[in-house]
Symmetry: C2
Subunit: 340 residues, 2 copies
């Protein structure tokens, strides 16, 4: 049987952010309805190369497909030309991996695709879905901490669900070139004005939506800077030792929503908040799939402070890869290889 192979460029051309938002909503619904078999994440540390790699797998009873995504963070790739060049002759990105999409009936490998972009897009979509249900309808000003790939994806996705007028950004490690590139990209993609800030405080104060997408190991977002009515997207913390938010913000929030409560309790910012005594497990409001299905309401008034904590789930890759595969098939994209 033939397997469809899709490059990063194919993936980019196959789906729009709107398609991925729809796919991730399907993912959250399937998860909530008990349609998803999702074993614990496999993590591998590669300290001698300043890298780490994760494997997220799942079987989705809703589409009868299984997916295995291996994605690693290889931080040294951005430093130099390295031993391999990207297809365009440039450096490899620091996020590297593949998704295998398989047919649950025969075990046949339907498609293998580059995963460097999928993870970024589906994570951006996750943040936007939370804002769709939890941010104020009139939210106009977003602040994002970081100016890298995920800080772009979060804003590109958010602009699909809210009419942004201003995007404030701050990056501790941002060079003038990187900051200028971020500003230009965001303004081109969203039409909002992008404003470089000199500190987390300057970016955060007065913003309607706060996005934390960094691999930080200390809480940089202070509770003093969070006004009533704010929605916070917590996406960077995905393992022990990582932290972005002052845990006291959880005590101020009326609704804390997780993608998977179990996973956020073991790997997310929720874990830090509970450890600090600022949140009790029974006070977590629910899972995002409940908001998507409508079995729980999202924001109820303009004063609530709301938090969405996401550590990422295999099912997001599953439905996103399915959407990419179907469009690629329809449009005749990619190459074919017969493994068996």
């Amino acid at each position: 049987m033939k397997t469809l192979l899709l490059s990063k460029t194919d993936v980019q051309n196959a789906v729009s952010m709107d398609d991925v938002i729809a796919a991730v909503e399907e993912a959250y619904k399937a998860y909530q309805q008990g349609q998803v078999e999702q074993p614990p994440i496999q993590g591998m540390e590669i300290p001698e190369h300043n890298a780490e790699s994760d494997v997220k797998s799942c079987y989705n009873h809703a589409n009868h497909m299984f997916s295995i995504k291996t994605v690693g963070l290889f931080k040294d790739n951005i430093k130099g030309p390295g031993k391999f060049a990207a297809a365009d002759g440039g450096k490899l990105p620091n996020m590297m991996g593949n998704v295998i999409l398989g047919d649950g009936e025969t075990g046949g490998t339907l498609a293998i695709m580059d995963a460097s972009l999928i993870t970024g897009i589906r994570t951006g979509a996750a943040g936007a879905i939370s804002s769709k249900y939890m941010a104020r309808k009139d939210a106009r000003v977003a602040a994002v901490f970081g100016a890298g790939a995920q800080a772009r994806m979060q804003i590109y996705a958010l602009a699909k669900v809210r009419d942004l007028t201003e995007v404030r950004f701050y990056d501790k490690f941002g060079t003038p070139e990187l900051m200028a590139a971020y500003k230009a990209d965001v303004e081109r993609e969203t039409g909002a004005k992008a404003v470089e800030c000199a500190s987390v405080e300057e970016a955060a104060k007065g913003a309607d939506i706060l996005i934390c997408p960094t691999p930080s190991r200390e809480a940089y977002l202070k509770k003093e800077w969070v006004k009533p009515g704010t929605h916070i997207v917590e996406v960077g913390v995905d393992g022990a030792g990582k932290q972005e938010m002052d845990p006291a913000i959880f005590a101020m929030a009326s609704k804390v929503v997780c993608d998977s409560i179990a996973q956020c309790l073991s790997r997310g910012e929720t874990r830090n908040a509970i450890a600090a005594g600022c949140l009790k497990e029974e006070d977590i409001y629910g899972e995002i799939g409940e908001l998507v299905l409508g079995t729980k309401v999202g924001r109820e008034n303009d004063e609530e402070i709301t938090i969405f904590d996401t550590t990422g789930m295999g099912i997001q890759d599953n439905t996103t890869a399915e959407a990419i595969y179907k469009v690629a098939l329809e449009k005749g994209m990619g190459s074919w290889f017969e493994f068996i």
Copy 2:
């Protein structure tokens, strides 16, 4: 960068059983020397299609490569033509999957290969390695329970380390055609005489090496049929509920060796023996890597009954895939695809 794609046929042509035995010995050494990062196996059940799928991953500090193997058992594939045909136009095998081999320095995907054959070969090699260190030097008669793919691989590999004269086989589900095919295959590959038996007892009694490679859920090998000096390869039990051996045989054995003690305690026949009170954890003799490294001795006399319990480790796939990749590169096999 370019990724090498290898079909089942490429895999078959790239390496011999001797190569794989050498690769799996390297795997056991690396594991024993603490060179291997191997997260727990991910398992997915697909009951609506009578299937199950596992993901075994590891990073090997010895070769600086990571591997992710997804392999599932799709039992219905052998029943009919199914919705996909194999490359030769025939039915898909019931074991289906791929191995991704990655570069630990850059995260680049070096190769993706069919895994249906790799799992069988490296598991056959594992059994043979145990016999190399644990079976009597003059062992001539092997008995294998089953006449399927793994019952072949175990014997093909065993014939590389012992001078077999007779291979007895019994398969509860064997049709005359399947039994005749097994006999012909084994005689052609090994030169030993293959003898179809009418029962487990007939096959087992008096044999020097006993091989249990079935997915049985009840103990079919009785202690009365195991003579002094026997080596037993226990390869079929890889999860709760499965059982092949009368646990009392463990009480008769002077040496019980595991591939990974931790994994066999949670998924192997060792688990059943301990649950039945026939073995204590502290009485497990060691891990196979200790015998390969020579830090523990194997068989010490012709009277010992020895047991090797293997549930299979990601590191076996890692070093086997590395060997295949290197030969394929050298010989110019396979196709290339640029994912990124």
